[in-house]
């Protein structure tokens, strides 16, 4: 097929539009000026020091981490149950139940947050990290179910039967055969849920009460122009962490494929 120069230009423009703003993060994180503008005025690492010494930031970071790890664990666990049930069993109302589980995927987060807020306050639950976790599990579970369903789906049913046939119980079969074979899916699900929870804003803002998480804290800091350079430094650190996380996820995915001899059908991202 003949290559179209117009399409090529479009593709390049698209990529620049997508990634150029991110490229600005490291530039201004090391720029020796409180004003975010060209020309650059010199090199400094003082924004990183300022960031490091920000006690409020550390609290928000710890909160975010607690929420992201808990949400990832809970939603992946629920995802395992959901995926196993939908791929292995037939029961009445299966389609409807699956639809309800997947609903948060298309439902505006604002609506979900408002509904949760009304209910939680009505029940007298104090807003805290815990209430954010509830909201995030709700958002992350559909992703976990989708990722894990495809992992469970690709599992040959007769592998399970072979294990029973060779004397194993359903529980030991799950541990010895099913779990190792869906492990790449579980790791993917954990990482995706972690990432979604970490940068989620609306639920965290609505249900956080007086507890601040990273995303909400960063947004708040933009009200103070003199704080912006250290936020740029924080953004740069977060980009580096994301790249690291993705590399780890891809490494485990490829290792899983190599181990079972399956065909590589592309990444989960």
């Amino acid at each position: 097929m003949k290559k179209s120069p117009a399409l090529k230009t479009y593709a390049i423009a698209y990529l620049i539009f997508l990634y150029a703003p991110i490229a600005l993060l490291p530039i201004f994180a090391f720029n020796d000026s409180r004003v975010i503008a060209f020309p650059l005025s010199g090199f400094t690492t003082s924004w990183f020091v300022e960031m490091w010494n920000d006690q409020q930031l550390w609290i928000a970071f710890k909160n975010s981490l607690t929420i992201a790890v808990s949400s990832a664990l809970f939603s992946t666990l629920l995802g395992i149950f959901g995926a196993r049930a939908t791929t292995r069993y037939k029961f009445p109302g299966k389609g409807g139940i699956l639809g309800l589980i997947m609903l948060p995927l298309v439902l505006p987060e604002m609506i979900m947050s408002m509904a949760l807020l009304v209910i939680l306050i009505g029940m007298g639950v104090k807003l805290s990290i815990f209430t954010i976790i509830i909201g995030h599990v709700l958002i992350c579970t559909p992703y976990a179910v989708a990722i894990l369903s495809s992992a469970f789906q690709s599992l040959d049913r007769s592998l399970e039967e072979a294990a029973y046939d060779l004397g194993e119980t359903p529980a030991s079969t799950f541990r010895l055969i099913i779990l190792p074979l869906v492990m790449p899916g579980i790791i993917s699900s954990l990482l995706i849920a972690f990432t979604i929870s970490l940068d989620e804003f609306i639920v965290a803002y609505f249900l956080g009460g007086n507890q601040t998480v990273l995303s909400v804290y960063i947004f708040g800091q933009f009200r103070f122009p003199q704080r912006v350079p250290s936020i740029m430094a924080l953004g740069f650190v977060l980009v580096c962490l994301s790249i690291l996380l993705l590399t780890i996820a891809e490494y485990f995915r490829r290792r899983g494929i190599a181990k079972t001899g399956a065909k590589d059908t592309g990444g989960f991202l």
Partner: protein, 364 residues
């Protein structure tokens, strides 16, 4: 052919429903200890379902399955004295060959060194000596099959169940594995139950075969009986090729007097008369190799009929002729072994066909 051996598996009026679908319609049969038994039939006939009721993967709706005299009702698959070779082999892809073969020994109290020895022996038995450390997913189809066999046999089951184990192999490999399986079965003396849709495979490998159609056993017999005396046109059609000619019964008393198209008046013994369920009407059947084309100077051993050759298919060692006997409407297939110096006849040739009443079967 075989002396009567004790019963290993007994089906007592086994019924199986999937919702409204009646998958097994009253299976009653016994499989003897040490026998190579095949369940043969077209896809959807219930043969795999029946095999899975032995393994414990399917519950039965009513009736009973007994293994070695014990009722299997409520006994789960992991507590049954059977092991299975799956159609997909079901090799655990994340384990090595040795871990796969030794998987069933996990609950065995013997020390690890003895278990390792048992694994090595099992691998040697299936011709995979020294393959233990390999990754299971890196094996070829034939090797996977052998690993699946070793993994099932290491537990010394009373019954080995084989669910179309050769269907994924190419023809050469399949024939080689057939011979190896027969040898292996004689060596270990375990009852083998094979599910297959390949009639040739069943004939080659089995001591006895149950031919199944639509959830029922149509005929259970040794290969020779099944081939020479199929008890219905359906079985005769499924096992090999059989030619049919319309016939009319003239009289019966001990022997049966018949008027058959093309063959004329015949007297058949009682054991040549089969079935009472035919919907196609009474007919005479014969196998392609039981009638021969008579070349110049050859004399029929029994009877002969004039015929015209309508189609010739040359196979190297064999030639198949479709010939129309005088006084009949459709051609009959004959298979002739090619002999050096004898020509392959052309389409349209008039010829004599030699046959014997003893090789005929009457379906009514």
């Amino acid at each position: 052919m075989t002396t009567e051996k004790p019963t290993m598996i007994e089906f007592r009026d086994v019924q199986k429903y999937y919702g409204d679908y009646h998958a097994l319609r009253g299976i009653t049969a016994t499989i003897r200890a040490g026998e190579f038994f095949s369940l043969l039939g077209p896809s959807g006939c219930g043969k795999t379902t029946l095999l899975r009721t032995i393994a414990g993967f399917e519950d039965i709706s009513s009736g009973a399955v007994l293994i070695d005299g014990k009722h299997m009702d409520g006994v789960p698959a992991n507590k049954r004295p059977t092991n299975m070779v799956f159609q997909s082999y079901a090799i655990f892809p994340h384990l090595t060959v040795a871990e796969n073969v030794g998987f069933g020994l996990r609950r065995d109290p013997r020390p690890a060194s003895e278990k390792a020895k048992a694994v090595a022996e099992a691998l040697e038995m299936v011709g995979l000596k020294g393959y233990g450390a390999r990754a299971a997913h890196a094996l070829s189809g034939g090797q996977r099959q052998r690993v699946a066999l070793a993994r099932a046999l290491i537990l010394k089951p009373k019954v080995l169940l084989l669910d179309e184990p050769l269907s994924a192999l190419d023809k050469k490999m399949r024939e080689q594995m057939q011979m190896e399986l027969i040898k292996l079965q004689r060596q270990v003396g375990i009852t083998f139950i094979l599910v297959t849709h390949d009639q040739e495979e069943a004939l080659v490998m089995s001591d006895r075969i149950a031919v199944m159609f639509e959830g029922q056993i149509a005929q259970l017999a040794d290969p020779e009986t099944l081939y020479r005396r199929p008890n219905s046109r359906q079985v005769a059609d499924f096992i090999g090729t059989m030619n049919f000619l319309p016939a009319k019964i003239l009289s019966e008393n001990g022997v049966v007097e018949v008027e058959a198209q093309g063959f004329g008046r015949l007297t058949l013994a009682a054991d040549q008369v089969m079935g009472s369920k035919t919907t196609e009407g009474t007919s005479i059947g014969f196998r392609p190799e039981t009638a021969t084309i008579l070349f110049d100077g050859q004399v029929a051993t029994d009877r002969e009929t004039l015929a015209t050759i309508e189609e010739v298919v040359y196979y190297g060692d064999m030639t198949y002729y479709d010939v129309r006997l005088d006084g009949t409407e459709k051609p009959m297939r004959l298979s002739m072994r090619n002999v050096f110096g004898r020509p392959v006849l052309d389409i349209g040739t008039r010829t004599r066909v030699g046959w014997s009443p003893g090789a005929l079967v009457l379906f009514r």
